[in-house]
């Protein structure tokens, strides 16, 4: 009796989503349509906005700064996905085990991803100071040579990767931990009886079973890594020179420092397609895995 009744109501439930859908349409879809429109114009903040067709897109192909920004974004993204994934899975395995003060340790571990990114980035900036920074003090007191951190083009991206890894490993940990928590206990009991080592259990039981969660974490991390803004903007603003300028930072500079809104819009379109393509690729890989 209840079943057909519930189904009869199903279409009424749509009404509940109408207000939120309206907001999403206004705040997300309108900007999208308008961005594509603007990308076809030579649009500065003031003055006429003549239609230029695909000129902004063609300009991108010859813009060395833009092409470097793409390569840099891919390099930065690969590093800020891989490092947090490895550390995050390691952390999830640790936090899935019972030990004293586990709750407290987990909360402290999660703090970096909850803290305000700008505030965090400012404190890192002070720590990176080449002469007075605490990090170089720690390095030299351990007998290691000091680093140039964000003050040299050869070390700036690895340093930013370190900050991002510190900040976003907890998100990977939480998602993978959620996966481990949902696993059945029997395979582990059997493995312990058979005398399997911790590594063998991780490699042959945990890893294959939580693989879907790992892929979800990887997709989320990938999207966030491509979009990284706050950390880079606050710590280096793309510098020194343009050696840490990713697409998102270049986009900001183009649109809101040089006020070239037409070219900025064209970059937005290409950037979004890039994000979409990479995330769909990863989802496709995940689906193929699921078929096996």
């Amino acid at each position: 009796m209840a079943q057909p009744r519930g189904r009869a109501y199903a279409r009424h439930y749509w009404a509940f989503a109408v207000p939120a859908a309206t907001i999403v349409l206004l705040v997300i879809l309108f900007p999208w349509a308008f961005t594509i429109f603007m990308s076809l114009h030579d649009w500065k903040v003031t003055g006429a906005t003549p239609f230029v067709g695909a000129a902004n897109y063609l300009k991108m192909l010859q813009d060395a700064r833009f092409l470097w920004a793409i390569l840099r974004t891919l390099y930065f993204t690969a590093a800020t996905v891989i490092a947090p994934m490895i550390l995050g899975i390691w952390a999830a395995v640790c936090f899935a085990t019972q030990f004293k003060l586990r709750g407290l340790a987990r909360t402290v571990f999660v703090l970096p991803m909850m803290a305000t990114p700008v505030a965090i980035a400012l404190v890192w900036t002070m720590m990176f100071h080449p002469q007075l920074g605490v990090l170089n003090y720690l390095l030299t007191s351990m007998g290691l040579p000091p680093s140039t951190w964000v003050y040299d083009s050869s070390t700036v991206i690895p340093t930013l990767v370190m900050v991002e890894t510190w900040q976003w490993t907890p998100l990977v940990m939480l998602i993978v931990l959620g996966g481990i928590a949902s696993l059945p206990q029997e395979p582990y009991e059997a493995a312990i009886l058979d005398g399997a080592s911790v590594w063998q259990m991780f490699r042959h039981i945990t890893l294959p079973l939580v693989w879907p969660f790992i892929m979800v974490a990887a997709v989320i991390r990938l999207i966030d890594a491509l979009k990284t803004f706050d950390t880079i903007y606050v710590i280096t603003l793309g510098g020194p020179g343009t050696s840490s300028e990713t697409i998102n930072i270049m986009l900001y500079q183009t649109a809101f420092a040089y006020y070239d809104l037409g070219y900025g819009s064209a970059i937005v379109v290409v950037f979004f397609l890039l994000i979409l393509a990479i995330s769909l690729l990863l989802l496709r890989i995940r689906q193929r895995e699921a078929w096996r």
Partner: protein, 277 residues
């Protein structure tokens, strides 16, 4: 047998070692942040660095509020984050319910588009729109753009929660002649209160932390705290104490909320993998 015990012991040792390695960067970072904010300028620029403030001083915090209009920026941040969270709950909770009940997984996927799109990409057209409407210099544009972060978080968390609720109670109400709206307000919402709490906390935190919308849309008097603290950096590059104090003031509410509500936050994040911006 002894070999087995030895291996267990080694496993235990490895576990504690791993946890210490993983947690210490966060512990070190936040303690150093606190240390910077409680030291005078002389100690902050000393080399080798002074680790423990002796004696600790609160002048940096006083400085921040006296030299900058931090009280105003705090009020701005409170207004923006509370409005954006309140509106998101108002629209997002019914939407989550509708999508969960109608099993509209496609609609749920649409919400994810907001998660994928970089924040900057809304900003070029919205910046122009707000300029035409003469709204730059008020807090309204900030509240509207923050909805881009808060609405998807609320909808996403609520879908998960409503899907997990048993439908029998609402169906009983419907059989007794209640409208679906009444069943939602009087039966489903009270049951979903823990979920609403999770959605509220996460949406508040990610709105509070947001920088990118503020940096583009905020004027001199409408800065939110993250934008204000960034401006402290540009103008007082050398004084570390006030800078660390300002950074601590901005992020302290969020850190306290995380420490107090860690169970709810972990539950919400595990389910949704949400993050703003």
């Amino acid at each position: 047998m002894t070999r087995h015990r030895f291996r267990r012991l080694m496993g235990r040792f490895g576990l504690y070692f791993s946890v210490i390695v993983l947690v210490s960067p966060a512990v070190f970072f936040f303690l150093w942040m606190l240390s910077l904010s409680l030291k005078n300028e002389l100690d902050n620029t000393a080399y080798p660095p002074v680790f423990i403030p002796n004696p600790p001083t609160l002048t940096n915090f006083v400085d921040v509020f006296q030299k900058n209009d931090f009280l105003k920026y705090t009020i701005n941040s409170v207004i923006v984050s509370f409005s954006a969270t309140g509106l998101a709950l108002l629209f997002g909770v019914p939407a989550g319910y509708g999508i969960a009940k109608a099993k509209a997984t496609k609609a749920a996927a649409l919400i994810l588009i907001a998660r994928v799109t970089p924040g900057l990409s809304y900003l070029i057209p919205l910046f122009l729109l707000f300029q035409w409407l003469g709204m730059i210099g008020t807090l309204t544009p900030l509240v509207i753009t923050h909805l881009v972060i808060t609405v998807p978080i609320v909808v996403w968390v609520m879908i998960g929660f409503f899907e997990g609720l048993p439908g029998e109670l609402e169906e009983a109400a419907l059989v007794d002649g209640a409208t679906i709206w009444q069943a939602f307000v009087h039966v489903a919402v009270p049951l979903a209160r823990p979920g609403i709490m999770v959605a509220m906390i996460l949406s508040f935190i990610f709105s509070w932390n947001n920088f990118i919308f503020g940096v583009v849309l905020a004027g001199r008097t409408t800065r939110t705290l993250p934008v204000a603290v960034y401006n402290v950096l540009t103008f007082e590059q050398i004084s570390w104490g006030p800078l660390a104090a300002a950074a601590l003031i901005v992020t302290a509410p969020v850190l306290l909320l995380t420490l107090l509500m860690q169970k709810e936050i972990v539950a919400g994040l595990t389910a949704g993998g949400v993050k703003g911006g």
